[in-house]
Assembly symmetry: C5
Homo-oligomer: 357 residues x 5
Amino acid sequence: MSFKAYYLSPEGDLKRELTAEEIKAAFESRQGLLWVDIAETTEEDGKFMEQTFNFHHLAVEDCVSPLIHPPKIDDFDEYLFLIVHGINYAVESEVVETAEVAIFLGQHFVVSSHNYPIYSVEAVRQRVEDDSRPMRRGTDFLAHALVDTLIDNVMPTIDKMSDIAEEIEEEVIHHPQQAILEAILKLKRSTLRIHRVMAPQREVLNRLSRGEFPIIREEAQIFYRDIYDHLVRIEDLNQTIRDRADNALATYLSSIANRQNETMKVLSIVATIFLPLMLVAGIYGMNFKYMPELEWEWGYFAVLGFIGAIIIFALWRFWARNWVTWGRRRIIRVRLFAVEPKKLVGYIGHLAKRRDT
Amino acid sequence: MSFKAYYLSPEGDLKRELTAEEIKAAFESRQGLLWVDIAETTEEDGKFMEQTFNFHHLAVEDCVSPLIHPPKIDDFDEYLFLIVHGINYAVESEVVETAEVAIFLGQHFVVSSHNYPIYSVEAVRQRVEDDSRPMRRGTDFLAHALVDTLIDNVMPTIDKMSDIAEEIEEEVIHHPQQAILEAILKLKRSTLRIHRVMAPQREVLNRLSRGEFPIIREEAQIFYRDIYDHLVRIEDLNQTIRDRADNALATYLSSIANRQNETMKVLSIVATIFLPLMLVAGIYGMNFKYMPELEWEWGYFAVLGFIGAIIIFALWRFWARNWVTWGRRRIIRVRLFAVEPKKLVGYIGHLAKRRDT
Amino acid sequence: MSFKAYYLSPEGDLKRELTAEEIKAAFESRQGLLWVDIAETTEEDGKFMEQTFNFHHLAVEDCVSPLIHPPKIDDFDEYLFLIVHGINYAVESEVVETAEVAIFLGQHFVVSSHNYPIYSVEAVRQRVEDDSRPMRRGTDFLAHALVDTLIDNVMPTIDKMSDIAEEIEEEVIHHPQQAILEAILKLKRSTLRIHRVMAPQREVLNRLSRGEFPIIREEAQIFYRDIYDHLVRIEDLNQTIRDRADNALATYLSSIANRQNETMKVLSIVATIFLPLMLVAGIYGMNFKYMPELEWEWGYFAVLGFIGAIIIFALWRFWARNWVTWGRRRIIRVRLFAVEPKKLVGYIGHLAKRRDT
Amino acid sequence: MSFKAYYLSPEGDLKRELTAEEIKAAFESRQGLLWVDIAETTEEDGKFMEQTFNFHHLAVEDCVSPLIHPPKIDDFDEYLFLIVHGINYAVESEVVETAEVAIFLGQHFVVSSHNYPIYSVEAVRQRVEDDSRPMRRGTDFLAHALVDTLIDNVMPTIDKMSDIAEEIEEEVIHHPQQAILEAILKLKRSTLRIHRVMAPQREVLNRLSRGEFPIIREEAQIFYRDIYDHLVRIEDLNQTIRDRADNALATYLSSIANRQNETMKVLSIVATIFLPLMLVAGIYGMNFKYMPELEWEWGYFAVLGFIGAIIIFALWRFWARNWVTWGRRRIIRVRLFAVEPKKLVGYIGHLAKRRDT
Amino acid sequence: MSFKAYYLSPEGDLKRELTAEEIKAAFESRQGLLWVDIAETTEEDGKFMEQTFNFHHLAVEDCVSPLIHPPKIDDFDEYLFLIVHGINYAVESEVVETAEVAIFLGQHFVVSSHNYPIYSVEAVRQRVEDDSRPMRRGTDFLAHALVDTLIDNVMPTIDKMSDIAEEIEEEVIHHPQQAILEAILKLKRSTLRIHRVMAPQREVLNRLSRGEFPIIREEAQIFYRDIYDHLVRIEDLNQTIRDRADNALATYLSSIANRQNETMKVLSIVATIFLPLMLVAGIYGMNFKYMPELEWEWGYFAVLGFIGAIIIFALWRFWARNWVTWGRRRIIRVRLFAVEPKKLVGYIGHLAKRRDT
């Protein structure tokens, strides 16, 4: 069993590293605020939860099972059981995994459970260790802190995806190649993943913020509503990235087609110029007895001149038809114009500051 | 008639292999718990159901008819009539068929009917034979066991589809060929099939879990809600597989276009290099009387050298324009980045364990 | 005026071929069950309906007008006015038309009207002629028989479309050509047509089956619900056919691209092998005075051997790069796997039987 | 100010060409039926409306403003303010514009306003001039006549679009060219335009027909419901045309790809046959001293025969691989099958007749 | 702190440039109308808002934070907190940014806050400076003026996008090139952006206009409804631009394919004509001892004539198959037909005028 437990007594003292017995005692006192955080939840932890807190078997099973569970709220009268999803972000990694935290929220206790270490839970725990602030305003505010930090952790991923979208947009114009397709599709799938994880949470947070559950007091509801607004923003940014990925895909496919056009043009130009000239050379290579031109003193030079003239004429024709573009400036006759959202500036800094308020 | 019948008397004894008369007696006693499972339901079975249990003609017809019936609940006051769909999974097969079970759920009886053997019903029957456990908590829990096992049986198919999606993603990059398209389209159609079978069941299980029918007691509702959550998870995983199939399709199509580009490039390079040189050879093959170069002692070697120089120059130009890539390392300038769900681990084992609790 | 009228007196006698006066008398008696079926409805029939039954002008106009009217129910207190759509199936035809029947449903009368002969109405009429069964259970059951038979008639068309989808899937792999595109697009448009005709009827039948209208008694509602379930099944099958058509389209387009690839490869291989060799031959066809190789005794055979060696080497290279596939077995490295619905078996026979119950 | 005003006194006399004063008097009498139709509404007309009828400033502004206003109903207690859209059809024109009419509907008055002449309003006005019929049944029926005629005027446009869809389907198979693409896209955009104009009106007419506003009496509601049904029909036909345009687009794109395939085949065949033969001719054109074949008497004819044989053999191979199709009948192995709506017959005639009833 | 404050005393005098103390006094008097506009809102401004007006911390945070916040209304009983989005249009710029204004709306005060200068707020401020008109009708009308002007400012952008769509449609037909793709995709993305910004505001304005909040009096509601109608119009125009961009994209892609077809045709024609002729020349360049034609006096001229005849014949064949189009008029056999909305005329002028009413 690997849990961390904190108890804020009604007098305002913070106890740390409670034993299983102390947890049970604190739980049964029905006052103060008890927070138990269980990481890498095992079968044994499950039994502990059922015995100590008397949680419903199915809810505990959702904590223990290594499967992914969709976001939800179950109301067991005595407590709410929440499953919330976020992203467990680590800056350097190439693959970012979505993370799931289960929260039991009662009048006097919060039990959080997760199958692997979660950075955002760690951050809240750190703030509790520092000055117990997140626990001072009640269980609904503590649960809010856990959910809020988890969901806000999606932002750096969105930021990184936005950067990658920019790289892709740059690259797809200048070096369209199969590898960029992979990057585009990965980006697109990531946006789909985030959408699939975030969208159902709006319903969960909407219910939490509209006074449906008495455990969430009125003054806390607006803070849940605030998370809801964050979800809307995340979805909006995420959708914008998807649009950019779609556009990059269109540009990529059009680039391939254009490049093939270029290849074909080169081929056509070469064949159109040289095949007829080779015929001319072939004709004067024939061995007929009677071919008057062969006797002419300047015949050879005439043919050479003719060949040169034809080449120049053909190139000029191709140039006029815009197949050859030497010396031509590329002219864009259409105004480029875009409506853009205001740039996100200083997000991370702002986030850090906000957390302390 | 091929039915298996079990009766758990109010005293807690389990009777097996009841005859038609015993079934009728048990049904009319209006106590204990009677379970009749009818496989490969015939017209005769239909008549038996109508006469013994007095079921509505239309419901019985839905059991007898070999057609597919959409999932639904009909409330006949005395009993509920459910149609639920799942997958009749057999590991080795190439084609997996969706399966349909009809369940009559009354206060004291459950009658299940299906037109072909269903693995998941068999599994529940086995557990009843072993220790009668699934029947001990009442008809609503027995019906839950039947539905839950049926729907959980979709997971191995999802797992297999996920594996195939991985194979396809690998293969589509290294050996894009028409055969892979077939695999992609089959996979995509399978996800559509599963979506079409699973999506309407969410409505059915939502109704079962929200206290609309008194036959489902409050303590059982949360278990139906649990099946609902499984459906949400199945749909999410299924959707992810569909996204992967879509991406594989995009990669495949782009690969074809790229390969064609490669083919065209080879052709263009060859023609661009050799056609002009052939003209040169053709010119010096002309039979003009007066061609001064032909008399030169080193003329022939000069032409050979000129030809060689031109070939090298042309290859260098193509290399510089990135048409020829000898000796170049392929550089991906774009970071690859993906947001992924946590991997499903140990699902089957977990599933087995859970069933016994 | 071309109508067929039947009257089932309260005593249970069936009168046939009533005159207009007898119809009016039967209508005004307000007992028994009167069924008037008007085919190829004219202006004159319209006036007859308004005068005899006092139907609302707009409803009668919908019967008379040759236009298509969307499915609907209008409640005129005294009677319901239904418009229902189905398919007027004739096995041998290449084009199948959607059909529309208007039904006035009162306490003691049913008036059906259609602008052209409808096979399904004819079938009900035949059963009435045989033993008056469809009329014995009341007007709501008679109207049910009319609607049910009409909508069930869509199934043979779905069956035929399913067969055609199979043919197309076969053909698109082995003989992709422009003609198959036409077949695919026709099939797809047919599914759209059926969807557009069937989807709005679900709403109509839902309203009929949930007790909104007192004319439909409770025992009849479940039969209307049964038609609703048929509509759901038809939509599901129809959607499956559409998916198959979409996949066939993807296969077709990919086949075209692949074939073009093949064509280009042939061209590239031929050019890559022969252009350089032609240059060699051209070089030794030059007329330079001093070309030492020409004097060598075995020069000619050396060149021939060189040419042969180059051809063999080139073919080997192309074989290694998989451009040439002689003697190679086509290997599919990806498992093919599909989730399929159970096959529809013995549908028509079952349908026939069901109708007599 | 350019308005036409009619007043039907309670005694049933129709006054025409009322002056502004007479209008004010009629309005203030609060009996009879006053209809004022204002065309090419100016600021001055706006002031007149505000002063005479005391209409709300925002509603009047919607009449005066040359912008497009979405369809809507505003309920100002004393009167309803409707904005309805249709099509201002003129048979010979290439561009058809959507038209907007604003209607103020009170107990005793109807004021209609539009910024340009509307054919359908003109038609109603003509019928009033003829026999005052549309005004005899009350303001709700007069407003119905205005809306109904406006929306029915969409049908000829739908008819014309249907004809054009047929032309396009014909042309796209036999002469696929860039110009047809323009026609397809224009058609598709027109269906989108019509959809965007018609769809929001269903909501407006639904509200008008369900007794929400007391100004619309019960006997008139069903007539508004009838317009609703027309809107459904228009949307259905419109959607069918869009499907046909989509199919034509698919056919067009596939035709382009097929034609390119044909071009490539010609090229490949020519190159495959002639390049090797040119090599043969090139070889015997070499100037080696010792080339035994050159001395043979029949060498030349042997080469000619060899060349001829190769050409015939190659063509036969291409024919066998189906690249060359001389003398082959094109065989379609797939049944063509379509589900179609009944054809619209005699629409215009029917429309004319209906209007007089 | 950079705020502009105005106070309209109950006596109707307008005070300008209030200090922080005067603001606090005016706020606490609970009469008159106080408007404070805070631009480039800083942390310090945030504290000022919290201290002076006692606004909720989360609302103030939304004002201070540089992030984008989705449109919303939060009801804090004492005041409403609105976030509204528009476009901060500057005619000459290539990139137009969406703009966000936060508004606190109380019985006697309006506080608006934005992180950068907003042209539309400036315009309202100017009108207040001029004659205080927007403040004379109450806080709900002042807030309406702010929202209305902000949203109307989207129109010039829509106008410009419409112009660009026209340019693109012109250009895509005559000069399809990669650069136009960029313009199309930018335009499309702009429409998506506008849609994403405008769509959620419909919900906000719907709530404001239906009497949900007592602060908005009944006479003001219809003015908010008017903004709602503007949003509907903006979305409609925006959607039309998106359709045009989609069509331009289809035209562009088809143009590329067509051009490639042209290129291939040139190549095929050249190869088909010249390769066989080169073979002929090659044959007569062979050095066989016995080649009778070489001895014929007119052999050379016969070959030249043959070559010329073949060229002419081939060109005629290609002309007949429509590959060569010299001297042919391009014939469009399909009627072009479009349904269009009435053109927006004189928008800007009208807008200006309306604002003063």
